[in-house]
């Protein structure tokens, strides 16, 4: 098992089956974030931080749009079951310590977004020889770079004073989210012959 996508075709492109699985996973994760950010968006902003919600929503939507167009899709019968597993995993996980439902939902969304943005590094799967002019290769690099920037909002919120009384619970929930997302990502990669130990 390799730690990288491939073997590449003569033009330095990733095999379409691998593109389909990786693309589907990322669309599922970032699509879930886009939907949940959309639901969190008020019709009219009343606080400056809400502008970040707007940015997060559109960046996640951009990632989904990018992958839909940059991925070389092939039929994959296993994707149906995998997709169901992934979508179930993105559902809100209750945090018993936080009784305010608005705050609990915000923590859920932030921990999920932190786990996806920090824990998933698709560009680290690319072998050195991958064709930089290939749209899928470019898309993975762009998603990884953009994720590092998007992550900043989650870090600020999860470390913020509003959550200070729940520090341990939030930290535990975040570690748990990371472990869950990493497990799904690892299983997805293993299903296409990639040793994901170095890709987490």
């Amino acid at each position: 098992m390799s730690g990288f996508l491939g073997p590449l075709d003569p033009d330095g492109r990733i095999p379409p089956r691998q593109q389909s699985r990786v693309g589907a996973f990322l669309i599922s994760a970032h699509g879930a974030l886009a939907r949940q950010f959309a639901l969190s968006l008020p019709a009219r902003f009343e606080a400056a931080w809400q502008t970040e919600l707007n940015a997060q929503f559109y960046r996640e939507t951009e990632i989904v749009s990018l992958l839909m167009r940059a991925t070389s899709w092939v039929p994959d019968i296993a994707l149906g079951y995998m997709l169901m597993t992934w979508e179930t995993a993105w559902l809100p996980a209750p945090l018993a310590e936080i009784t305010d439902p608005r705050l609990a939902q915000a923590v859920h969304l932030a921990t999920l977004a932190h786990a996806v943005h920090a824990g998933i590094r698709p560009a680290a799967l690319l072998p050195v020889e991958a064709n930089p002019q290939d749209p899928f290769v470019m898309a993975l690099r762009r998603i990884e770079l953009e994720s590092g920037r998007l992550l900043q909002a989650q870090i600020l919120f999860l470390r913020g004073s509003e959550l200070a009384p729940y520090r341990d619970a939030v930290n535990a929930a975040l570690e748990q989210r990371h472990a869950g997302v990493r497990k799904l990502w690892r299983e997805t990669l293993e299903s296409i012959g990639i040793d994901a130990a170095g890709a987490e």
Binding site: A118, A124, V128, L151, I155, N171, L174
Partner: protein, 308 residues
């Protein structure tokens, strides 16, 4: 690949060299990973030392706490590793951030050490270092690990080292980019948000201490090392000629030789610190020369030291 457990976190470490021999423990800089000590893992065992290397929490193959990494936890991880080494003499060395963690260990557990070697190190954040650190952190956030590496490489390594690598810098950066994650590096950098200067506590370090500083270290210049020399009574300052901040990478053979000689001298009872100042040789095996008497070692031009 062996691991130590600190709470729910795992710390990856490696031991090389003969068990029971005096040990050197080497602590990574902030963006490093333990494989970068490869030259030392060969050179020091050849001189009769055991070598312990590890990835700090947040680095390489060690666990990466998601939201916070405290420097207390790094010291605790280092303590676990040193406890693994048994009762023999232990020499502790670290570079940059790793030097700071080594200093903290020496302050808190100095009796366990036979010697200490802080390299490219600091005990406090001078305004320059604070602002540089903030700028590097912003670079990491906006441009990712690769951009941070782009900033650090020319700052910390010489033209001589960089020139033959100019057309293959991507391959130089690749392993560090692969094993280090943005969020984890950011957590390591932000472990300084509540940093308290170590300077008032440095006098607690009584163990023989050799402070290594590159002649051209831009990130942590001479003044920061001078603080260590003045506060640690049993110390000497050794200036590495034509070296920058990352001299452990660029001058591995010379640095390993200096580490081995220091430990040999300490174990033989020959070493005398006396807050002396030395200039290292250009190559491994050469003689150290005392810094010219009467001249100011804090200046880059030959200026006579002001009389007290």
């Amino acid at each position: 690949m062996p691991f130590l457990s600190h709470g729910s976190y795992r710390i990856r470490y490696e031991l090389d060299g003969p068990a029971g021999a005096p040990a050197y423990v080497l602590v990574n800089g902030l963006t490093q990973y333990s494989e970068l000590w490869g030259a030392y893992r060969e050179a020091l065992p050849a001189r009769g030392f055991r070598v312990a290397t590890f990835d700090l929490l947040g680095q390489g193959a060690s666990d990466k706490p998601t939201l916070f990494i405290s420097q207390d936890d790094q010291v605790a991880a280092l303590r676990l590793l040193i406890d693994e080494l048994g009762d023999g003499p232990v020499f502790l060395s670290g570079i940059s951030f790793g030097g700071l963690i080594a200093l903290r260990y020496a302050i808190e557990h100095g009796k366990r050490l036979a010697g200490l070697v802080p390299m490219s190190c600091f005990a406090e954040l001078s305004p320059q270092l604070l602002l540089l650190g903030n700028a590097l952190r912003t670079g990491l956030i906006l441009g990712g690990t690769s951009y941070l590496q782009d900033l650090l490489l020319p700052m910390n390594l010489s033209d001589q080292w960089l020139k033959p690598l100019l057309d293959k810098l991507d391959s130089v950066k690749r392993q560090g980019w692969l094993v280090n994650d943005v969020f984890a590096l950011q957590n390591l950098m932000e472990s300084f948000l509540d940093f308290q200067p170590l300077t008032p506590r440095l006098s607690a370090i009584a163990v023989p201490t050799m402070i290594l500083n590159g002649e051209f270290d831009f990130l942590t210049p001479r003044g920061l090392h001078e603080t260590l020399r003045l506060e640690i009574l049993n110390s000497s300052l050794v200036i590495i000629p034509k070296a920058y901040h990352a001299f452990t990478l660029e001058k591995g053979a010379l640095t390993a030789d200096l580490l081995a000689r220091f430990a040999d001298d300490v174990l033989a009872g020959r070493w005398e610190g006396q807050q002396s100042i030395w200039v290292a040789p250009d190559e491994a095996g050469g003689e150290l020369t005392p810094f010219p008497d009467g001249y100011d070692h804090l200046r880059a031009i030959p200026v006579r030291r002001a009389m007290p």
